[in-house]
Symmetry: C2
Subunit: 351 residues, 2 copies
DNA sequence: GTGAAAGCGCTAACAG
DNA sequence: CTGTTAGCGCTTTCAC
């Protein structure tokens, strides 16, 4: 441990702890400390390689300079990319990132947040929530605890969040498929399906169908449990592509589903897009190089992370002050990345 | 904030803080506290939803119950999967994970670790180091600071680590390619190339060539800078596949290189493996579904994370005690996943 | 079996 | 401009 303390620095300089503390915290000017003493202090600090003890500081100030991030699964590229950009941003502000995965379990998520907050004194959190009921977060807000939602919102609960326009993105990509003459389109959603993300994507799908005078068939919408994607997708895809459904296109609502779906289609020796077209939400590296390359709705991951971190830093700093225009609802736009899996090929490796 | 403190609990029970503290920390038995009072305390704690303040506890005990993880880039699936399994393990022990990416910058890495340790009171770290010089870690060890290496070691420095047998894996995969009658094999390494991982993989490549009486041509070994993979790979691949080099196979030493390489080969309209074969270290989801599927050396990511976390927990708990058989050098085995990119096809989508 | 009291290292009134 | 002092909430001797 950094055995040397504030007191050591003060003593070896023959000054008070206060003085050293003020200098270290950049309050030298505010307290009119002479440039000379300030420099002497700074020099000594460097010489002794003094590092303030955060536990002590935290105990005193009630702050930790740590922020928490809770996502469904950090090993999903979608979240790990966002995490990276959050890290980059908060680091500039002297914050560190504490991380946890909820596995889409609402109770676990609550537990994690509580732990972060109450035990570890995390100064604020960024969460991709899997809650349905806003009660927990309402209380958090009442207690004025800095919290930013990413990716998902909770119905009927307005708070600071950074999301993408899921409905619009969803509609556009389904529209594209229909323009490519695929009119019978099955959809794979994922549980928990009550999340805003999934709901909006479903809504976009339905809108696209309606706009093209296609009747919505609820039997073509299959919900896959988060805990057993592999098996469930297999079963679902088989049913969708065969009679009486005979879908000619499959729309999957996230990247894990896409991977599983791709695997099943290959196993079944179905050609994509000739036999069945495939489109997905979430664009990941894999989709560029898969066989065939997959058309997907791409989200600005870096922006999501950066904006969320920015928002959280604002919240933490404003905390007691009156806040301007809160909560901030940031909606970013998606982009359709067209590849051969939907029939309209930009680049097709099978040539 | 959890406004209620130890004192609140004690007061509302009419007992001392000591008592409550002892009960909470499971030392009731050791101090012979009656089952009756213990239960009363526990009940009150629950009723008031008391959460110990970690900052205070940390200040007192010098522990934080946080461990740090430093990797090159958390958005690389290789690290995010490991991170996930570390998280799972340490969580069971009541620890949280603090995360940072070093971007393969040795100075940044040192800075991060110092911060973790000295400022944030992280109880121990797991690091995929990018250092060449062991000095920093030697000092860490002298100060008895718990630290576990994953993925990479530093030459001439023995410490607790969890790695895979890179040399063997590398040799096996190159061997395979040679067995498939590809004898002119170029290799793309990545900087910093002095890491044990890269050195061992290079050694494996050379061994395989030697074992098959193929002359080693240093011109076929190209180092790609971590900071500019895309461009550099493009240039390198073009040179490798054309005269006078005319390689018939490319071996890339990690997954980022593979992705970049795949892209270039497609751009150049070269068929894999007919024109150029491709093999890689690190198996990621993408390789199963890419066109063509890519043969790779697969690493037991979950095991790496779990073992490393286990080791670290041991180190933290042993700290003062005499340790048995330290440092522990855990070497896990890799597995070659054969796919069509190397010529010997198990499953080939191009059919 | 239980309580009193010291003190971890720091910050922030308040004095001067 | 600089120093004194009082805790933040907890653990841990030591006493009873």
């Amino acid at each position: 441990m950094s055995k040397i303390s504030l007191e050591d620095v003060a003593k070896s300089l023959g000054v008070s702890k206060t003085l050293v503390s003020l200098v270290i915290n950049g309050k030298a000017d505010a307290y009119g400390i002479s440039k000379d003493t300030r420099d002497r202090v700074l020099e000594k600090v460097k010489e002794l390689n003094y590092q303030p003890n955060q536990a002590a500081r935290g105990l005193r100030t009630g702050k930790s300079n740590i922020i928490g991030l809770v996502v469904a699964d950090i090993s999903n590229q979608f979240y790990s990319k966002i995490s990276r950009s959050i890290e980059n941003f908060v680091e500039k502000n002297g914050y560190h990132l504490m991380l946890s995965s909820s596995d889409e379990d609402p109770d676990r998520e609550m537990q994690l947040i509580k732990m972060f907050r109450e035990r570890q004194q995390v100064d604020g959190i960024i969460v991709s929530t899997t809650q349905k009921d806003p009660a927990f977060f309402k209380q958090l807000r009442e207690e004025n605890y800095p919290c930013v939602f990413i990716d998902r919102t909770i119905e009927g609960f307005h708070t600071d969040n950074v999301v993408v326009d899921n409905k619009k993105g969803s509609k556009k990509v389904v529209d594209l498929l229909i323009k490519n003459n695929v009119r019978k389109i099955g959809m794979l959603t994922i549980s928990p399906s009550y999340t805003s993300t999934i709901q909006d994507r479903i809504a976009g799908y339905k809108e696209a169908l309606k706009a093209n005078d296609i009747k919505i068939d609820e039997k073509l919408i299959v919900e896959i449990p988060f805990s057993d994607v592999q098996q469930a997708v297999k079963k679902a895809v088989k049913e969708l592509v065969s009679a009486p459904n005979n879908v000619k296109g499959i729309y999957v609502l996230n990247n894990s589903l896409a991977i599983a779906c791709l695997e099943v289609l290959h196993e079944m020796n179905l050609r994509i897009p000739q036999d069945v077209a495939l489109i997905s939400f979430d664009d990941i590296d894999l989709f560029r190089f898969s066989y065939p390359p997959i058309t997907a709705v791409s989200q600005p991951l870096e922006d999501i992370g950066t904006k969320a971190a920015e928002l959280l830093m604002e919240l933490i700093n404003e905390k007691t002050q009156t806040s301007t225009a809160r909560p901030k609802d940031i909606v970013l736009q998606t982009e359709i990345v067209v590849r051969s899996s939907c029939g309209s090929s930009i680049r097709d490796f099978s040539a």
